[in-house]
């Protein structure tokens, strides 16, 4: 009975959603002089950044990204405090099986390559698809692989929190340095260079590298605290 009711409600909802969106059409230029054209124009002419998504995320909407990184930090600290366990609490139910030799040597072989790929992705965030969030997630995947392969692989919480705090502080300090020339928060104060070169875009590259470090440290700490919740 309840399932029938739910299916009925969802069918009505789906019908109206589909009606609304199928009338929209697919692949038409929607606005004559929308915000899209402004962003696409200013990205090349002012910021000299190749990747428009990066320039929106880091420069035009950089303040939102600061909030977003804060939300991620908040999620990780909430997870840590919810999973907190006192000494005399009931023992953990997680059982880690010893992994086979193939997994262990394979992950040892892959781990540096995964880290290198992550670093490459966030350093080239303003030139190619990708950026700080994606590169940080890839680095955390490498740590997850090592944590699954070696049961006594340890990550220092102190190092993680230092990396994370330092990256966050550098982000905010770079943002505040934008005030020097009478500009605004996160204003570019470095020379913006030539389009499609590695050192272009001024502060955007530096900020995305810092976001990459911060996301990598946060996600690694998150995976670690879920896997080893008895610590």
């Amino acid at each position: 009975m309840r399932k029938f009711l739910v299916i009925l409600i969802l069918a009505v909802l789906g019908f109206y959603l589909f009606e609304a969106f199928s009338g929209l059409g697919l692949g038409f230029p929607r606005f004559e002089h929308g915000v899209k054209d402004y962003y696409l124009d200013k990205t090349v002419s002012e910021l000299h950044v190749a990747n428009t998504v990066t320039s929106i995320v880091v420069s035009f909407r950089g303040f939102d990204t600061l909030g977003e990184v804060t939300v991620l930090f908040l999620a990780v600290s909430a997870l840590g405090s919810v999973l907190y366990k006192r000494r005399h609490d009931v023992g953990s139910r997680s059982i880690l099986f010893a992994s086979s030799g193939i997994v262990r040597s394979g992950s040892k072989l892959l781990f540096p390559a995964i880290i290198l790929l992550g670093v490459y992705i966030f350093i080239h965030g303003h030139l190619t698809p990708g950026g700080g969030f994606q590169g940080g997630a890839i680095i955390a995947t490498g740590f997850l692989l090592m944590l699954l392969a070696y049961e006594n692989f340890r990550v220092s919480h102190h190092v993680l929190s230092y990396v994370e705090s330092l990256a966050g502080i550098i982000f905010v300090v770079i943002g505040l340095l934008g005030f020097i020339d009478g500009g605004t928060f996160l204003q570019n104060f470095l020379p913006s260079g030539i389009l499609n070169e590695l050192f272009s875009g001024g502060v955007i590259g530096i900020i995305y590298v810092m976001v990459g470090f911060k996301v990598a440290a946060e996600l690694t700490g998150l995976i670690y605290s879920v896997l080893h919740e008895k610590d």
């Binding site: 309840r2 399932k3 739910v6 299916i7 969802l10 909802l13 789906g14 959603l17 589909f18 969106f21 199928s22 929209l24 059409g25 697919l26 692949g27 038409f28 230029p29 929607r30 929308g34 915000v35 899209k36 054209d37 962003y39 696409l40 124009d41 990205t43 090349v44 190749a50 990747n51 428009t52 998504v53 929106i56 995320v57 909407r61 939102d64 990204t65 977003e68 939300v71 991620l72 908040l74 999620a75 990780v76 909430a78 997870l79 919810v82 999973l83 609490d89 009931v90 030139l127 190619t128 698809p129 950026g131 969030f133 389009l195 499609n196 996301v215 998150l222 879920v226 919740e229």
Partner: protein
């Protein structure tokens, strides 16, 4: 053919949202409810990206050879929005799973109809 694609992409993303909602509304296991939330997230991201699509458009990246292709580029605004939404969705999933672990530790069950302390 193109009409078919249009209906297919919008239909698929709306179907994902509905599947996720169905799981959230009817499933009893807490893990399945969290999975349903993630599926809703995925559907919404696909829907937003689809709105910004341009017919025969390229990615909004001015790589060498594409410096003057601004008129053919897809809308970068929904893509930046979805990048934010993915990160927030990740945080939501992580916190929800930690709450599930906490509930399991307290009640020794994952079925919501067996957790009776909230019922009156």
């Amino acid at each position: 053919m193109y009409k078919f694609l249009e209906y297919g992409v919008y239909g698929a993303s709306i179907l994902l949202i509905l599947i996720g909602l169905y799981a959230v509304l009817t499933k009893k296991s807490l893990i399945k409810i969290v999975i349903g939330l993630s599926i809703i997230d995925g559907g919404i991201h696909l829907l937003l990206i689809t709105i910004g699509y341009l017919r025969q458009g390229t990615a909004p990246i001015f790589s060498p050879g594409f410096e003057n292709a601004a008129a053919k580029m897809v809308d970068p605004v929904p893509q930046a929005l979805v990048l934010t939404a993915i990160v927030i969705g990740f945080g939501v999933t992580a916190v929800a799973l930690s709450l599930v672990i906490r509930l399991y530790r307290h009640h020794r069950t994952l079925q919501i109809d067996e957790i009776k302390s909230l019922k009156w």
